[in-house]
Symmetry: D2
Subunit: 487 residues, 4 copies
């Protein structure tokens, strides 16, 4: 059962993860495993398409990968030696089945399945043109624009048509595509979302993160480069770079929160970055304290780094209940902490009488932070100092991350002091932008040519958000005329 | 649960029924009722689209109308004062959700929902052309061709685009379409499938059969004419006749078996026709007998007519179990009648020691007939004479009826005597073609210009079956590259 | 989905059917078939217990037999060569899973499964005694009393314990029991509910009605006698008659409505009785008419009998929609006939301008009859004469039939003339008690020693309804302290 | 969907958790929350019974608490101001719905619901006696024995009957019972399983662990004492101690693994004990190393304690995937680590080139440990030293913990050196018994009168395992003659 989230967990959410495999006799089973390893990138739906040399096979559904693919009968039907898969987190309350990826289309040259991580910034504008031409859209996803552009392209090979289509789209995209002959991986010219290539004893794989290579026992080969198309086929791996070379702008939030700590992205260990952010924080914003306590699970690596650097004991002062708990009724007389307590409980034995440094990865709306601080104080903490392993989140993301409107972002409305007061802490500090860049291995942020996309902290968008600007100027339209249900 | 049919019930199956309503505050609830009354025209899936002045709402699913629409929450979500609905019987074992109608598309001018009863005979040819142009098909239905033709039409109004599309398609179609402003009904120029217009206190309705008008309390106005387009809108009902006038060819099998006996189609009572066929049979093929026994339920009216004409008592010598029973395991040691007995049981009290006239509507493969005859004999009948209320079914239908390949039709391989022997009856007779025409109120069959489509008995197809001929010449292709499942 | 019945179909309902089989390698599959044939005796739940020589296997569920047993995996798990099964119609809105029979218990001597058709009239009184003793009841069924009486009996064999238990219970019961060594059939001393014995090539069967023998290909041997216990075991069939011989009182309503027309009960064809009732009615209450029309399906045989006797044509003036249709929303503006029209539609072609004799089996509340009459008039009938194939239903049944309280029975509150007025007919007549007895083959009703239980027409109860009298004197108690749900 | 566990996670499993509440207007909602906090004590089924002053309401089902109670409609039906709930982990593959607790029975004095954490050691013997007497068992749980003993007790009040029953049972039990007037908590005389009492603004609660008090905002009052019965009623809390005082023997494994780290049991913080065990381990079995890495999540607190004591950095060298992943197909060609990798992945950035101390809570079969060690080595660790925060598990538990047979326990078959070799580590050490006792705050283990039940490490059972001995002497019998399914 898909549920509403009565208790805001106040995190940004990655919108998708992708996986592809070519030339392996158990393509579907490995793709299911790979998607399971990428489950943190999207929990609302999962889909998988295989090709068996004659036919494509498609299975998709709402819910987790295991709900849909942890079933022998399903996997057995997904015949073939090549496959692409997708996990999805949708930004809207309504999660439509017809939006679950990979999308599939039958074209003149045969079938094509496509999975997309990222977000196109001119999808609405392109969609309008395509509809005018008579193209019929099945979904409300930006991804379908690419499909239609391929279908109507006047070029003849899939590869040429794909390039033709990509030349027209703007924004962030890491794609996996399945054709009768190949599995294709693409990263947008800025390389905003991750995608890496791995090798198995039999066949090749593509995945959003290296942790998905680990689960299938694939060897990490390299990241797909920004602007690169890699084509896995019977001839091996071929690389095409159809775009003019530009400086890349990888999403820095992947390091802070989205990616799994055991992944290595763009050559850097995510866990290592997080620990170094913690150490930077300890140096930038030292405070006298008895214990360093992470808000689990995302705050743990930074807290370890902070504790080691500061020489203050690292303690599990908040215990996380890993059983989900989102749909419980909140009793009317309950303290307003019940929501938080579904997931987190204060460990009084650690907190009582202590000066506590609380380490968390980010503050979005601030609602959860306030409750956690109050819970920590009720458990007896004498001081609570919050340290955040990202700079203040002040702007929305248009490149594939679910962010609230700016007006709901706490840091867009208050300065740090104001935020500290609202959250109820004795002190509050965020990692500096330069500290963040140092933790990833840069000397600091080069304002003229920043190495990463950090628009959520700076408003410095690497691509013009065409549709967003149109919508602000009142030019927007309803994405779909249809509400749809399946009985 | 959708089930296989382990026990062939050996009937031809209608493939669809449609219903539309305009200008009624409870459009969805009435459409659900109307579809329920048309349930006999399609039991594998049902769908309903409404328009609320701003948005379309779609609900569909596999199974019966009640399974999908007998639920207040579902109906409440289907807001609006206009609606179209569809029930579907699919010809293949695989019933795909994406094929469930009404189909819906968003076009430049807004949304369009379309439900179709019938079958286009040049859909494959058109589909190939459209795909070559870059059109992406969502379904494997012939109906979607019409949608794309509308989408790419260079005309501007829905009405003009629809006419433009219909000029390109061949075959049988009774359509209901829902647009933001109207509900549109269409019958193909030959009027092969039925469609009628009714009036309610508030608003207008379209339905495949008049029995669906009865259930919603609508008054029968008239049949939509062959080649006519009726447009129900705020201005009332408008009629357009864009096609050159041709002689109509209504499907005579609608009278014999498909339509409900309480429907009046093309001005004639279905029940009345069936009784008159029985009377004709009694005159054409009299035999000395003690009882006239229908194979229930479809054989009942003809048996009443036969019994009255022949002066032989009408008796329920076979009792039908109306609980479904298709999925039971057939015990290995069971007599081969178990399949038949799920549905029919001999009423020994009526049959024992009697000369029996068995009346059935048709013989397709003959498998069920043979078992029923054997069951009747085991119950003590001394003679079994079978009378069939249709001529021998010798040809396949390409206009919306699920027929086996010719090679599986008993009458295509054997003469009447041979059939009698195989079925195990003492005598067998079919209604003559002229007798059938007389029963419907014609003087007989005018060979040069027959009043009805009777191709399944004569092979005289009123429209060239383009796709079928292409497929016979080896030109056919796979309808879809995709198998699809939803978890 | 189990649904409420928004549209009262205004019939009495049989509460159960039972089936048992001993010594057959496919015991479960045959029992499922047998229960399917008995589906008309109970549609709310079904259960089946087998014994494989070592263990009992139990499967049960709400809904139809096919919903629960039309599944190979389920049948394959129900191993063993002996089985008992049960279909249930519950009298209360709440259908509890824990009440679904057969009930099962593990006793000192081993396991025992028990299925019951009928109703015990002193179950509440016995239950109170047993609870006082420390017996824990799992269900709210009267049947469980028998189980506990067996468990605490001081006799040692199952047979002796069963007899010990039966000596304490009063009321109507046809039982099938499964023990490690045998399948046992029992009929109460008055033989109120039916039970018959059949023989298969391998093994023996017991069934509520002979139609269930037909479906499994068993030969009818004989009815189990009132007060008889038959024990099917490896030694064959053994009969025990532990009760003093009394005159039997078979339920006459089984002939009128409950039993299937193709069943032969107590040596008499049900179909034959119904036709003879029709003929009696035609003689007793003749009226000038143009057509005789049954209310389908239950009124059909009597209408055939009436029409033949009266020399008036039999016509299907009302067409039944066999698709269920109970859960549809009734549009607010619909005529009050929508409920009835879900199931029945007038066939105008037959009714218009005609004097109609409508034949139905009974009138309970009269609500449906009134709507049907109005529908028939609206279809153009000039006169409507209703003929009922049972005497007026004036009393409740305590022996296994779901009857409304007396105050809701139309015939308990009005004389025939008053009823005719309320229902809106030109004339109304019921079969006389003597006519009914004649139709079953008796000379008439012997008031001092009637051959049948006809208490619903006469109030002449063959057994004192102990619990009912206690409940009327305010001595009743809540049947269960528990409401229960399974997630 | 309940699934098999293809990938042994090789932990002992707690079998149950209980929760009770009296005098609160939202009893069901709070009980659901409490059970959610106790979810780690049983994940296979959950049940909840409330009493509304007139009736009991029961809901139960297989799966997690949220699956069954995270639904407003369910909670709304569970009316009343008192409730008891239960989470269950069953020891057998077959999880029967009829075994899901709380069990409920209607007795002479009214209804009684009972939830049980622990295991009775003479249940089989008592069951045999009760069945002989005519008692019918519904479940195969030991708990039902208590219900029947209460039902047949000759005492009159619930309290007296309960004491009468408890005097006959042996073994471990923490019980919550719901009666019309009260909620009752019981701990067995040895206090083997935990149970604590909390106070809310309105009403009182009982819970297996204090973390369940936290989630409902209840204040911790005290542990229920070994051998104590506490009665929560309109009169407040009353305590009864019907048993002779004996030295208590709380289960020490609750500290090591079962209880949540944020719980305080028997006055001692679970998290604190685990950290102190880690410190003891560091002192007892020091080794030169570069990093201390926990096997997450259970090994984390001990690893923190070890790292702090040893002065070696604590690092997340193994990352846990919290999405379940048990039902995925293991591809045939996958390395044998796939099973482990569903849940754990090596964090190469931390492990490569390092001497690693791996900290885990216990070794049961050793299968998972071996795979984890191999995975850690493949990620580049140069040395792997395993430290276990419990003594070697050499004996089975009969008091409510799911342990494999002795022959499957690695420590029962091998000495530490042999285990080290099998698991593939450079060194292996377990905490000593005395070290364990010190970590809980005792001076050491008093061999003559140990403070805890530590039978799984010592074989020193505090209660004679009657049924187990009978079963070893071949006296055992099948627990149930019935397999049961619900459709």
């Amino acid at each position: 059962m898909l549920t509403t989230h009565p208790f805001d967990d106040d995190h940004l959410h990655e919108e998708c993860g992708v996986f592809g495999i070519f030339g392996h006799p158990e393509a579907a089973a490995h793709t299911a495993l790979g998607l399971h390893a990428l489950q943190h990138r999207g929990q609302e739906a999962a889909g998988l398409v295989t090709y068996d040399g004659r036919q494509f096979h498609h299975h998709r559904g709402l819910g987790h990968v295991e709900d849909n693919f942890g079933n022998e009968a399903v996997i057995r039907k997904l015949k073939g030696t090549s496959a692409v898969g997708h996990v999805r987190y949708s930004t809207t309350g309504e999660t439509l089945l017809r939006n679950v990826q990979p999308l599939f289309a039958e074209m003149e040259f045969g079938g094509l399945a496509l999975g997309h991580n990222g977000n196109l910034t001119n999808a609405m504008a392109l969609r309008r043109q395509l509809v005018r031409r008579g193209c019929l859209f099945q979904s409300t996803t930006d991804t379908e624009v690419i499909i239609h552009l391929i279908a109507i392209s006047l070029y003849s090979t899939v590869e040429e048509r794909l390039i033709d289509a990509l030349r027209q789209v703007e924004g962030a995209y890491s794609l996996v595509a399945l054709t009768p002959d190949s599995v294709i991986g693409v990263r947008d010219p800025l390389g905003i979302r991750p995608l890496c290539l791995g090798r198995m004893e039999k066949g090749w794989v593509l995945a959003s993160e290296s942790c998905a290579l680990d689960i299938v026992g694939a060897e990490f080969v390299r990241d797909v480069e920004p602007g690169e198309i890699v084509i896995l086929s019977a001839e091996g791996v071929r690389s095409v770079k159809p775009f003019a070379k530009t400086a890349s702008r990888f999403c820095v939030f992947e390091y802070i929160y989205f990616a799994r700590p055991d992944s290595v992205v763009e050559g850097v260990s995510v866990y290592g970055v997080r620990k170094r952010i913690g150490a930077e924080l300890a140096r930038e914003s030292a405070v006298a304290a008895d214990v360093v306590v992470p808000v689990p699970d995302s705050g743990v690596p930074a807290a370890i780094g902070y504790a080691a650097e500061a020489g203050v004991p690292f303690e599990l002062g908040i215990i996380r209940n890993h059983y989900v708990g989102r749909t419980f009724i909140q009793p009317t007389d309950s303290s307003r902490h019940t929501g938080v307590k579904m997931k987190h409980n204060a460990n009084r034995a650690v907190l009582e009488g202590k000066r506590v440094v609380l380490v968390d990865d980010s503050i979005v709306r601030g609602t959860t932070s306030r409750k956690i601080v109050e819970m920590v104080r009720q458990a007896g903490a004498t001081e609570v100092h919050m340290r955040i392993s990202s700079p203040p989140t002040t702007h929305s993301c248009y490149f594939g991350i679910d962010t609230p409107e700016r007006s709901k972002l706490l840091a867009a409305r208050h300065d740090v002091e104001g935020m500290a007061k609202l959250i109820g802490v004795d002190s509050l500090a965020f990692i500096s932008l330069d500290g963040l860049y140092r933790a990833v291995g840069e000397p600091g942020r080069a304002a003229s040519a920043p190495r990463f996309c950090d628009a959520c902290f700076t408003g410095d968008y690497p691509v013009r958000p065409t549709d967003h600007l149109a919508s602000e100027s009142g030019d927007a339209e309803q994405m779909s005329l249809l509400t749809e249900d399946i009985g």
